[in-house]
């Protein structure tokens, strides 16, 4: 298929960016979206031009490195996939495709389509862990049975890949789904109980500090989340936060 690409180009964090137009021909419908961009970049290099910078790594939808806002949707038009799993069969011959970076105050652009998601890491530093040292002397893994439904819920929350689609798609640039996933995972598990209150307070505090917006329950994040993380976890985090703010001594 033949396509017209409109791509955001920006030299670095300080420069202003703009949309540029690139025609591209003979793309197979079986290729992935990023393989289509590989072809574009190969063409640009062969013409002696600078290729488009974009983040990507595993290309299996699990590392969370790839991003891209495609035709106004985080990770593009398909559901339940990251950009690397999006295939060109979702588009038609002759289409014009708009490709932008994930936009948020807390995700500054580094170059072209590459953004800095360090704010996500800093939220995790604030409380995304259970304080247990590596000793080899922790109790036996089966000493504490965990009801299967709880373990399954924890797993559902833990599948978050930290890509930032929830933030990019939210009109408030809210990171609530991302933070709620981690808070919920530990709240379902007995191992997470000891630090349960401090964790939610600290992580939410850091989230606010980073400049993410608040949640107004539009649910766009759940729709665009490549892993289908449920909005219910945000409700759960709100309850966790409310409870913790009443009883915590912080």
């Amino acid at each position: 298929m033949d396509l017209t690409l409109k791509i955001w180009r920006q030299k670095d964090a300080k420069s202003e960016g703009k949309m540029e137009t690139y025609p591209i021909k003979n793309i197979s419908e079986h290729s992935s979206f990023l393989e289509m961009l590989d072809v574009l970049n190969e063409n640009l290099v062969n013409e002696g031009k600078e290729p488009v910078a974009f983040d990507h790594d595993c290309r299996e939808g699990i590392c969370g490195m790839c991003s891209l806002y495609i035709n106004g949707e985080a990770h593009g038009p398909d559901r339940g996939v990251t950009t690397c799993q999006l295939h060109m069969r979702m588009f038609k011959d002759g289409d014009t495709i708009y490709i932008e970076p994930f936009r948020s105050k807390a995700f500054p652009v580094i170059k072209d389509l590459v953004v800095d998601r360090g704010s996500f890491d800093r939220i995790q530093h604030a409380g995304g862990f259970i304080s247990v040292n590596t000793s080899g002397n922790t109790q036996d893994a089966n000493a504490l049975p965990i009801p299967k439904p709880d373990a399954d819920k924890a797993m559902d929350a833990a599948t978050c890949i930290g890509c930032g689609a929830c933030v990019a798609t939210c009109k408030n640039s809210s990171a609530m789904l991302f933070v709620a996933a981690k808070v919920s995972q530990y709240s379902y598990l007995p191992q997470g109980q000891v630090e349960r209150k401090e964790r939610v307070l600290n992580m939410v505090e850091q989230m606010d500090k980073e400049g993410f917006g608040n949640c107004t329950n539009t649910g766009a994040c759940e729709v665009e989340c490549p892993k289908g993380i449920s909005l219910e976890f945000i409700a759960r985090m709100n309850r966790e936060y409310f409870g913790a703010s009443i009883v915590s001594e912080k």
Binding site: S28, R59, C63, D121, A126, I130, T134, A141, K148, Q191
Partner: protein, 671 residues
């Protein structure tokens, strides 16, 4: 006399690690605060090492080329992690895990290391559960297990098809706790470009900040390389796009021996390639072989009809299907080790029975399992006379619960529904058992330089069993390195901070900068990918699943030629002092072009078939094992460790003889 001393502790196999731990030197907590350690790579090995070392009190600097340590490629591991817990009461034990691993590796691994791995495996599960890793559980709340290839017990723990993700996020969370405390200083989007030696010891690295392009000096009292494997030398592999050999290769060029580079795992169950534009291959977890049956049609006319899309695989009658693994290996069936399964698929496809347009695909079929689970579930629900549709529906639900994300991934890529029609799969490069040579302490031949996880060669011999990579990565990082590195660092407590203005740092930085400048200023006519693809094709054609003398010699010559052409004609756009992905790729491909030749040299010298290394010249000619790989213990029962001398082809071979006191060397039979 070889320069190699594996430093294996004395004593009976089962007591070695305990005795070792009882007698090593320790560093007191106050002194740990004055010691710096660099960890390169933040996957399971690097991430767990960084977290554990920081918890102990060392100052850790961790480096990864991704934008966050959570994205290291361990995250993509699907199926599970082995541990000798014997929760299923099916006869598992430390010895049995040790035995299976040595046998699965075709008797080319070091006994003492493998036994230690099996010994600490149970601790890993305890540790991960304590960290909040949500492993799959049974209804009683206890941990669930599944089976993997090459073994007769169920010892694999898993978290859906995302076990690597959950384990890595566990290690990442442990890192986060230390980053928050300031005990780990994290360098995201940084790539190590050289190792710095001072007085023969590893004292730091040169790294490039990939955002600003700045070349930086970092010093430490020890350096841990946990940068993963080098499967991307084949261009197409299941590795991440950025996975590379550079850190390991730089260390090799600075004096660390590189062991068994030709031991590569070609994984049997990957999605077949589809076109020229293809950038990588996608793995379908080995866990699928628990329930999937592998087959091709028996009749050539059926193969033709399928390729012409006149017949669907579901229309082929049961008796016209060749379940070739069950036929050839009745004892292990679809759960033979990966090397055996891959070669069997290649054998059928080479004979013309491949089921897609390229002739390089076989079926992985779940219909039997769907029916079996469906009936089981119907019984559990107390349904009397359930309809065929109901059974299928229930069975598909069970399969979805077990492998849902894998099935979804397959459907997104191939655009076919694997619940209704069998998957098509074909082998692809997945893992490299070879790597930097290390002793029992995981130290390379450079004092103070360690290698952990896939980056070292130590535990898997010539073939790795499924679900053992995660086990090894975490064992090295959580439970082995924290002890062994202390033994070395106990001699460094009076050293003090290592200054980065030493001439050795200056020289290394200059060399790195000049190489980057050379790439940028080359202004040739061909892209980096052009050379990488060319290299990959040669590797796959001549150094892939089957290798022979003529092909390997041809590969060596052609790789050397491509390397020469690369340095003459590569074009790298952009500048050095900015985010420049093409420049990053160029550096990595330049290193692959050197490693690839050593890889072929090693494959040529090893004139035997063992594990993933199959030499067409070394095959059983008769008897029950006719056509199977033939190992040569008389001449090749050693680790091949190569010393760099300026040109990959002229690398000097050092042999570490392998001794087996606790295992009898046998032909590996899975029949």
């Amino acid at each position: 006399m070889s320069k190699l001393d594996a430093k294996i502790p004395e004593g009976p196999l089962k007591d070695k690690w305990t005795n070792y731990k009882n007698h090593i030197d320790l560093v007191n907590p106050a002194n740990k605060r004055n010691i710096d350690i660099i960890v390169v790579g933040t996957g399971l090995a690097g991430g767990s090492a960084a977290a554990s070392l920081a918890e102990m009190g060392y100052n850790v600097k961790a480096f990864c080329y991704q934008d966050s340590p959570r994205r290291a490629h361990s995250i993509a591991a699907q199926g599970g992690i082995n541990a000798a817990k014997n929760y299923q009461n099916d006869g598992d034990s430390t010895y049995r895990l040790f035995y299976d691993t040595v046998k699965g590796g075709d008797y080319r691994a070091r006994e003492a290391n493998v036994y230690r791995l099996a010994e600490v495996s149970a601790n890993i599960i305890d540790q991960c559960v304590a960290q909040g890793v949500p492993f799959a559980r049974e209804y009683g709340g206890l941990l669930d297990n599944r089976s993997f290839g090459g073994v007769l017990v169920s010892r694999t723990f898993y978290a859906k098809g995302q076990t690597g993700q959950q384990l890595l996020l566990g290690a990442y969370s442990a890192m986060n706790r230390q980053i928050g405390k300031g005990k780990i200083k994290m360098y995201n989007r940084h790539e190590m470009l050289d190792l710095v030696l001072v007085d023969g010891k590893a004292r730091g690295i040169i790294a490039r900040n990939l955002v600003t392009g700045e070349v930086e000096r970092h010093s430490a009292h020890a350096v841990v390389i946990a940068s993963g494997g080098y499967g991307n030398v084949f261009f197409l592999s299941t590795n991440a796009m950025g996975s590379n050999v550079s850190a390991a290769w730089k260390v090799h060029k600075k004096g660390a021996f590189f062991a068994n580079p030709c031991y590569t795992q070609i994984h049997p169950t990957c999605i077949p390639r589809s076109g020229e534009y293809q950038s990588k291959l996608t793995l379908m977890s080995e866990s699928l072989r628990n329930d999937g049956r592998i087959w091709v049609p028996k009749k050539m006319e059926d193969v033709k009809a399928i390729r012409e899309k006149k017949l669907k695989p579901t229309q082929i009658k049961e008796e016209d299907r060749d379940y070739y693994l069950e036929r050839r290996y009745p004892a292990y069936g679809n759960l033979v080790p990966r090397d055996v399964a891959s070669r069997a698929a290649k054998e059928r496809c080479d004979a013309g029975y491949g089921v897609n347009a390229t002739g390089e695909a076989v079926y992985l079929d779940f219909s039997t399992a769907i029916q079996r689970y469906g009936r089981e579930k119907a019984n559990m629900l107390g349904l009397e006379n359930p309809t065929a549709e109901k059974i299928t529906q229930l069975g598909e639900e069970v399969i979805e619960a077990k492998y849902g994300n894998l099935f979804q991934m397959y459907e997104k890529i191939v655009d076919e529904n694997p619940y209704k029609t069998p998957m098509m799969i074909y082998p692809a490069v997945h893992y490299t058992m070879g790597g930097i040579w290390v002793d029992y302490n995981l130290m390379t031949t450079i004092p103070g330089c360690y290698a952990a996880g896939e980056a070292n060669f130590s535990d898997h011999g010539a073939n790795r069993l499924g679900a053992s990579a995660l086990m090894q990565g975490l064992a090295d990082g959580y439970f082995v390195l924290p002890y062994t590195i202390g033994d070395y660092l106990s001699n460094e407590i009076r050293t003090g901070k290592i200054p980065t203005n030493l001439p050795e740092f200056e020289a290394a930085e200059k060399e790195v900068t000049e190489r980057l400048e050379k790439l940028i200023n080359n202004k040739g006519t061909k892209s980096v990918d052009y050379f990488h693809k060319k290299l990959g094709k040669i590797m796959w054609d001549y150094v892939g699943m089957a290798r022979n003398e003529a092909g390997l010699k041809k590969a060596m010559d052609e790789i050397a030629q491509i390397r020469e052409e690369f340095w003459k004609d590569v074009f790298v756009p952009g500048e050095m002092n900015e985010l420049n992905p093409e420049l990053e790729k160029a550096g990595r491909v330049a290193d692959f072009l050197e490693l690839g030749e050593l890889f072929a040299v090693d494959a040529l010298h090893r004139n035997e078939s063992c594990g993933g290394h199959f030499r067409e010249e070394s095959v059983e000619m008769d008897g029950e094992q006719e056509g199977e790989a033939k190992r040569d213990d008389v001449n090749f029962k050693y680790v091949a460790a190569w010393e760099y001398t300026g040109n990959p082809r002229e690398a000097v071979l050092h042999k570490e003889e392998l001794t087996f006191n606790d295992i009898e060397l046998k032909q590996r039979s899975y029949k």
